[in-house]
Symmetry: C2
Subunit: 345 residues, 2 copies
């Protein structure tokens, strides 16, 4: 691999200049900066941030960046990270980007909006000299949380790091989709409708793959007619439920509880009942799942375990002061069996 | 009012010693400290922290301390505080005491548990030299958030400051109880049951007072038999609903939505329906209120307005660099009319 010296020689600048550029210090012309970064990228040079880490004083502070604290998944993850850190001799500082608060749902594919919020927060974390950063996404997707040449250990939680240099902790959505579908098959259902989240979303794609795998395994042909859109919303799910009922399903698997609520709405309008007239299952185990009548069978996302695993991975990297192997950790979900599925066997 | 000099003279110590004691610096014997603090308390002396503030450099950082971020009321308040601060040139730092996470519901009356978490957090805020602190309580009660001689402007949000030197922002629970009861009276209900939260709790006491005022105003005698305990829980509320039904009520006002859920459970077990067979209203406007069937009429707590008002009050105090008049700001709630009340007129 190229060294700092190689890059400096090729660009005709000093080693100090290359180092300054990689560490984001000013006082270098934009032209030089671009030329050096191009060479850095081509040669695949990676700054040895862990060697730098060993030279600097450890602060025993872990930074936590949340995309939005008000998202239902976020605070249980954050509290588990804080708990783990506290029990392992690290303090935490917490920053909140408030992406949903500022942008509603218009920012998912807009990296510029994210970076505008993120950059000053990252600078602040660096000025505090955090030993590591846990980045908690508001929903699962590939996140540009840390730049490729970032010097501090980081982990992306409830999302996937765009840079392969950083580990990620996500739920095992494929397995979740598989297990829930299998649960329905095991109870004698063979025409099982699926109401999907937004298209292209990772949760959607993986749960769909799991649904198909379970059907194939049970010897049930996958029927595209039974796979309907819901876009995570209550209203659209009700419309899809109508189509699915007409297509003769005995059960509907909704990719979140909000859409299961929409199916309940639809059934109630038709004078039908969830459970007895149509089996319904959800995903997320939101608080309201226990207030639906009948109580909703759903997949619980173990936010505590997600936060715990993420903090563990990050603290291990920080403690060892060596990069380890960046990896994607997938946490399984747990089916919470309640009263919304009838047994056809 | 007594000056530092008066107190120093009376105690036979130097002004510097009194100042050190008030600023919490060590190196003073416990006996001297106690003697001086006794005189400070008797004379009603208040350190002029704003004069000290004018001498120090402003950092334009507001500290936010949350008792528990995972409590449903907390993150919308915190996000509103952050929004206001950002729009007025202040950055924020956020600390989370995680009281519910650590202690469940066993810490409400245990100031020692609170102080153990709070003290290091306050120290950290002071080391960052925050210009002011917003303390966000997890539930309403009198909170020992800031010591009497604290030098930094502070405000207690969603709770009442124990020290009268600091302002508080709470909801207007008396008015909330009054308006909801009046709403039921206006629709022809005259036997209105009340299921209360935990006894002694401020929400409980004030909503009860509002309930009584509305009844008296409507010429309906207050009947103690119709006021039942629920302790904020779904299970106990169901039991109280049974007693109230036997006492012939046409409507039940539950002091939170969770207990309204318990009344729905009870009705469903008896083959009865909320709305038509018994009117039910809640409080809080939790997400699940819209998933109950029929949808629950309830009082919405305007968390955004609470956070906004609190930040506004705090920033004004910080900007003016003078104490202003500490006060209790009460924010009204808004009834969200849905489908769980029948009109008997």
């Amino acid at each position: 691999m190229a060294t700092l010296k190689d890059i400096a020689r090729e660009c005709g600048v000093s080693v100090a200049t290359v180092s300054n550029i990689l560490n984001g210090k000013p006082k270098v012309s934009e032209a030089t900066r671009e030329r050096v970064l191009a060479v850095v990228e081509r040669t695949g040079y990676r700054p040895n941030f862990f060697a730098q880490g060993m030279r600097k004083q450890k602060t025993n502070i872990i930074g936590i960046i949340a995309e939005d604290l008000n998202e239902f998944s976020t605070t249980p993850i954050v509290e588990a990270i804080m708990d783990y850190c506290e029990n392992h001799g690290y303090r935490t500082i917490l920053m909140n980007l408030r992406m949903y608060y500022k942008w509603g749902d218009t920012w998912y594919d807009d990296d510029a909006k994210l970076q505008e919020q993120l950059k000053p927060v990252i600078s602040e974390m660096l000025s505090v000299k955090v030993d590591g950063i846990a980045y908690v996404a508001g929903h699962c997707r590939v996140v540009n949380a840390f730049p490729e040449n970032f010097r501090v250990p980081g982990i992306v939680v409830y999302g996937l790091s765009k840079s392969p240099r950083f580990s990620s902790v996500v739920i095992d959505d494929e397995r979740g989709g598989y297990e829930m579908t299998r649960y329905l098959c095991d109870r004698g259902h063979r025409r099982i409708g699926l109401i999907c989240g937004e298209e292209g979303n990772i949760h959607t794609t993986k749960r769909l793959a799991g649904y198909k795998r379970a059907l194939v395994e049970a010897g049930i042909p996958v029927c595209e007619e039974l796979i309907r859109p819901g876009a995570w919303t209550r209203e659209l799910a009700g419309m899809s439920a109508d189509e699915l009922m007409k297509a003769g399903v005995t059960a509907i698997f909704c990719m979140n509880d909000v859409m299961a609520g929409g199916v309940y709405d639809y059934l109630s309008e038709k004078g039908l009942e969830a459970g007895s007239d149509l089996s319904v299952v959800g995903y997320d185990n939101r608080i309201f799942a226990e207030y639906l009548k009948p109580k909703l069978t759903t997949d619980e996302i173990p936010f505590g375990a997600i936060g715990y695993q993420a903090a563990r991975e990050l603290v291990m990297t920080v403690d060892k002061e060596e990069p380890g192997n960046p990896r994607i950790i997938e946490i399984p979900c747990d089916i919470r069996v309640r009263d919304s599925v009838s047994d056809l066997r």
